[in-house]
Every structure is written in C-alpha cells, then in structure tokens.
Symmetry: C2
Subunit: 218 residues, 2 copies
DNA sequence: TTATATTTTTAGCCTTCCCTAAAAAAATAT
DNA sequence: ATATTTTTTTAGGGAAGGCTAAAAATATAA
C-alpha cells in the first residue's frame, strides 16, 4: 500500500524529473512540497526501502519503473478529475487545482476507468497538459509558446506555463481559454510585444504574457 | 478543521443515534468502526473538547448541534457520490460503498453544490436512503418493508435494509433493483413467504427476504 | 446484597509524518 | 588548496490515531 503522502512525494519527483533526466535534489523536492529537507530525506529512505525510487545519500533521487508507474497514475487521475470539474461541474481554470489535489488520491481502478470513458477519453487537461494513459505513457504534446508564433499565423491556445490564479484571471478577463483561436496580427521587434486577434477583437500583449501561453498551430 | 477520522466517528454516532435518541455507547461505536473501545474513548474526548459531542464518562455520547451538522454533511456527500457512481459511471449497487466512503471526505463546498445540481438534486441514494439537504435536514422517507404489503397490491422497490454484498447480489440475480415494480401475488400465512411478480415473471421469496426489502406503495 | 460479568477508561507503547537544531558532506570562492 | 557557504543528513521530539493489558465503573446474577 502506498500512502497519500508517499503518492505526493512520487508525484513531485515525477514532475521535477521531467525536464532533464538527472537525479532530483532533496531541496528541490522540499521546495515543491513546501516542507523541510529533513522530512524529505526521511521519506526518500522509506521510498527506497519500498523500491519506488533509486536513492543514494547526497546524490539525489530518481523514480524506479514501479515508482514512475504510480506517479504517472496519480497525474492521470489528477488531470482526469480536472477535466471532469471543468466540463461537467462548471469549475473555471483557476478553481480546479485544490480539489483535484484531493481527488487524485481516491483509490479505485473502476472509478478511474469509468470516469475516463464518461469524459470520452480526453488526452489533455484544462491547462493543456497531456493525460497519461493507463500504462503511464504520455504523448509528447507539441505545444509551443505564443511568443514563438510568426506574424499572420493562426493557432489555438492549448495551455499555460504559469498557472497561478492571478495569471488565469488575466486570461479569463481577456477571453482567452483552452481552445480559443488566436491570430498573430503583428510582432513588435523592439519589445517583443504582440498584437493578436481573438474573436475578431484585437489585443496587445507583452512579451511576458506571450511567453506564458502555450499554443498549437492550426 | 475536522480530520477524516473525526468525520468517520461523527458519522458513526450519527447513524447509531438515529434509532432511539438515547446516548450511543462506546462499544457500539467501536463495533461499527471495527476498532477498539480504547481508541473510541480517546477520540470521544477529542470530539468533546471540540464541542462536537456531549460526552460524560461511562454515560455514552450524543452529537451537539455542530457535530450533527458536520455528520449530516458527510452523509449528504456520501449519498450524492453514490448517485453519481450509479447514474453516471455505471457502478452497480454493491460496488459503490467503498468508493463513496473515500469520496465523502473531499472538502469543497462548490464541488458538492455543483455535483448536486449536475445530478439534478436527487433526494434518495441508490439504496433508497434519503439525502440530507444543505442544512442537514433529511425528509422522513415513508418506505415500508415488502413483508408488510398486502396481497394484490402494487409497489416499487426503494431500498434495502441489509445492504451486504451477498444480499445485493441476490437482488441483482433476481432482477430486483431500485425502482423495480413489484406486485404481491400471494402471501402464505404459514411461513410468511410471498409470491411476487416482477416484469411479468413470478418469484417466491422467504420472510427473511421480504423483511429486507423496502418499498413504497404505488 | 454480594459476587461475577461486562463495559469503559487509563496507562503505556507503536507508526506515520512533520518539525528544529546540529553534524557531515559537497560545492564554491579566495 | 584551503576556507567558506550551501546542501543534505542525523538526532531527537511532537501530534494524530491506532493497539494491548490492566484498572475502574457499571450492570447482572445468585
């Protein structure tokens, strides 16, 4: 049996390990989980004992095959629940996270299989992140930053990088949501700001904003 | 903050306190929760400290207003999730309990309000038990035992008394489900067995079975 | 009513997961 | 290459929730 706390640690290591496949540091985990490094060390020993991570003192950790499967499954559940909350229960982008954080720990294979079917097998969550399949494989999404899109090109919003509540609120205010069609009207070389068209109305956005929005080309 | 464990104790006291409004005994709670009496005593002290129960050593406990509200809310969540599992995710009667037992502890007012609306404000769970409203009031259901129904009378199944997996399986096997129309064809005075008609096919059931099925008259 | 049985509580201990403070190892700077 | 800083681990402790065994209170029987 894997406890809720253990699942959270595995998930954190999973996310931190994604970019660059080097071992994850104790401090990085502590920061991500807003806990103390000493607590992390203790948990790493327990996870190593259970063969869910490879851990050598002072050398950081990485997930074993077994650990990775569990972590991917937690992420899968988290993202499926997010889809459920947005599509079926009228939650908005910035409200789903805390609840999904609780729901991801519910244990029932049938529940998650049926939920997946009920949602018609979604491949992305409301933030545009891919949903791992039953085996834990997640298809590489080919999203790029809006800032990388050339003038006159059409694309659609598939996600955000910074999913803080304040940024999500900005997007809502400007009618940018998952799936929203965006046309790049003009790119200003000087400050890298952009003019974009959304539903026929034009909007100017800064480099910082454009660097936080993921899109896919149409 | 009320912990998951505290919620479970409050719920147990709530259920045990229903029939007969005398105080609930330590042993009864221990049995219901499959734990030890000593653990119960310890928890009762904690709950009394938080003013969720009235507790006097050796005299049993009862819920305070505050405790009752929390307990009713847990029951409300449990039963709403059961409806969700059966109506939307194709769970059968005997599969919902364990999962609902986990889901009932998810904390989010919006979640439960939206779920309620999504399910179109059900008043009964799949076992025919009433769902408390937001204030914790639950309408008295007027269900009676099938054994109390007179000859030639039509009724429909609204619930069961013993919801053990084995009994639920018996019902499934004989095509008896929530909402199933039942006609009492004949009552045998000798052993109180009954002949009943379900979807035009006749079935003989013992007194024990008839005493476990709740119905409402048509 | 006194003895016996049952119920409930107390005392002491365990595990999980968190913490602080100090020690040890590794990384960085002079 | 040594000194300093940063990171990681160890040591020791706390709260929550469970356990067993023994003591105390209550209930039941003779």
């Amino acid at each position: 049996m894997v406890t809720q706390s253990e699942e959270n640690y595995l998930k954190a290591i999973y996310h931190l390990g994604k970019q660059g496949s080097i071992a994850v540091s104790t401090n990085a985990i502590a920061e991500k989980m807003t806990t103390k490094a000493s607590s992390v060390t203790e948990m790493l020993k327990k996870l190593a004992e259970k063969e869910l991570v490879d851990y050598k003192k002072y050398q950081g950790v990485s997930l074993t095959k077994k650990g990775k499967t569990i972590a991917a499954n937690v992420v899968r559940k988290h993202r499926l629940w997010e889809v459920f909350l947005v599509e079926k229960l009228k939650f908005s982008w910035d409200e789903v996270h805390d609840v999904a954080e609780q729901l991801e720990h519910i244990k029932s294979q049938k529940l998650i299989d049926e939920l997946d079917a009920f949602l018609e097998f979604p491949t992305q969550d409301p933030h545009g992140d891919p949903i791992p399949d039953r085996e834990g494989n997640l298809q590489k999404s080919q999203k790029i930053f809006l800032s990388q899109v050339n003038q006159s090109v059409n694309c659609s919003c598939v996600g955000v990088k910074d999913s803080s509540a304040s940024f999500l609120k900005y997007l809502d205010k400007n009618s940018i949501a998952l799936g929203t069609a965006i046309q790049v009207v003009n790119k200003e070389p000087f400050d890298e700001s952009m003019n974009i068209k959304i539903n026929d109305s034009e909007l100017t956005i800064s480099k910082e904003i454009a660097n936080n929005i993921y899109v896919k080309l149409n």
